[in-house]
Amino acid sequence: MTTHYLVLSALLFTIGGIGVLVRRNAIVVFMSVELMLNSCNLAFVAFSRMHGNLDGQLMAFFVMVVAAAEVVVGLAIIVTIFRTRRSASVDDANLLKY
């Protein structure tokens, strides 16, 4: 059964990664990142049950905490950028280049 969870986790992770690559709306990109983090959590929980200890669940818990912090800061940054550039597209913020 663990294998199933891991494959699902891998699938979700890949979908999240593709989302990061193809979407231009910074908020959706962020959502994709959250999806990737969640898929990792799923793997942690599955491993936790497989090995019979709670460390995996604890790790997932800390990932959630960090993800929450990250979302807060990241969304604040998006809002700031939107305020100055009137755009939430990641492609519009491309001044730092060759």
């Binding site: 059964m1 990664g17 193809v22 959502m31 604890l58 807060v72 998006i78």
Partner: protein, 274 residues
């Protein structure tokens, strides 16, 4: 058996919702799809002997984080749908290749590993899941827990600092706002949407709720002959329609004058030669 059914149903739901999240044009739909994925994952946590995480998942992710996403979406503009035209050359192609490759590799890796049957958590959660997790948090992971709390506080402060707008001039008072309003042409404010045309002449455009003229309300041919009393067209689409109508009319006039000139010239030229 029950777990298997739950898994397969939720797996299909969550993958579909994830794909929908990535490929929907509207960000709000994406957020809702993400909510579906997260709720599915919460159920899967519960199935796997992690009731505490399931609850946290629902409360923190679905409740707090996703709401934050939606708030920001509202701030940025909820109805702005993304253009799905790719601007970076080959980005989608390579993303697909890399994604498929990555999934295939992960699948290969998982398939190659022989995993034993899950041991189950009954041993370690004799006192219940939440007390067991709490014991671990406050014993072995207490330092990480404290650091995580510090991180959360820092993140909260950072969000406030980042989102804070520096006020460059004094905040206008009620009096200032009132004075400004009476200095404009419309002290009583603009008319409401739709009905408040101030003239009923055929050459006067209707006003839209924001005070601009409605291009559809006046025939372009008439609008071209307008006097200065009319509000000049500012809307680009309206200007375009005016210009197009004017061009048409000019072309017509020109062709007519050309034929007239041609008619006049044929005998005139002969006269001059004589």
């Amino acid at each position: 058996m029950g777990e298997a059914i739950t898994f397969w149903v939720l797996a299909v739901v969550s993958v579909t919702a994830a794909l929908g999240m990535v490929f929907s044009r509207r960000a709000v739909y994406s957020a809702l799809m993400l909510a579906v994925v997260m709720l599915s994952l919460a159920v899967l946590y519960a199935v796997q002997d992690a009731p505490f995480l399931a609850v946290v998942q629902v409360i923190v992710y679905t409740g707090a984080v996703l709401m934050l996403f939606l708030f920001v979406l509202m701030l940025v503009g909820v109805d702005s749908s993304d253009s799905l035209v790719e601007t970076i050359k080959g980005q989608r192609f390579y993303a697909a290749i890399a994604g498929l490759g990555f999934a295939a590799l992960l699948g290969l890796a998982i398939g190659n590993v022989a995993l034993g049957a899950p041991k189950g958590l009954a041993e370690v959660t004799k006192a219940g899941n939440v007390p067991a997790v709490a014991e671990l948090i406050f014993t072995r992971y207490v330092f990480a827990f404290e650091v995580a709390s510090a991180l959360l506080i820092t993140a909260a402060l950072a969000a406030m600092v980042l989102a804070h707008r520096e006020r460059l001039r004094a905040k206008p008072t009620q009096k200032d706002l009132s004075r400004d309003r009476f200095l404009t042409d419309n002290p009583a404010g603009l008319p409401g949407p739709g009905t408040y045309a101030r003239h009923n002449a055929i050459d006067m455009p209707a006003l839209l709720p924001d005070g601009s003229v409605s291009p559809l309300s006046v025939s372009p041919v008439i609008a071209r002959h307008e006097s200065g009393a009319v509000v000049r067209p500012t809307d680009p689409e309206m200007v375009k329609s005016y210009v197009a109508a004017a061009r048409e009319r000019d072309a017509e006039e020109e062709s007519m004058s050309l034929t007239r000139e041609a008619e006049a010239e044929t005998p005139g030229g002969e006269k001059e030669e004589k």
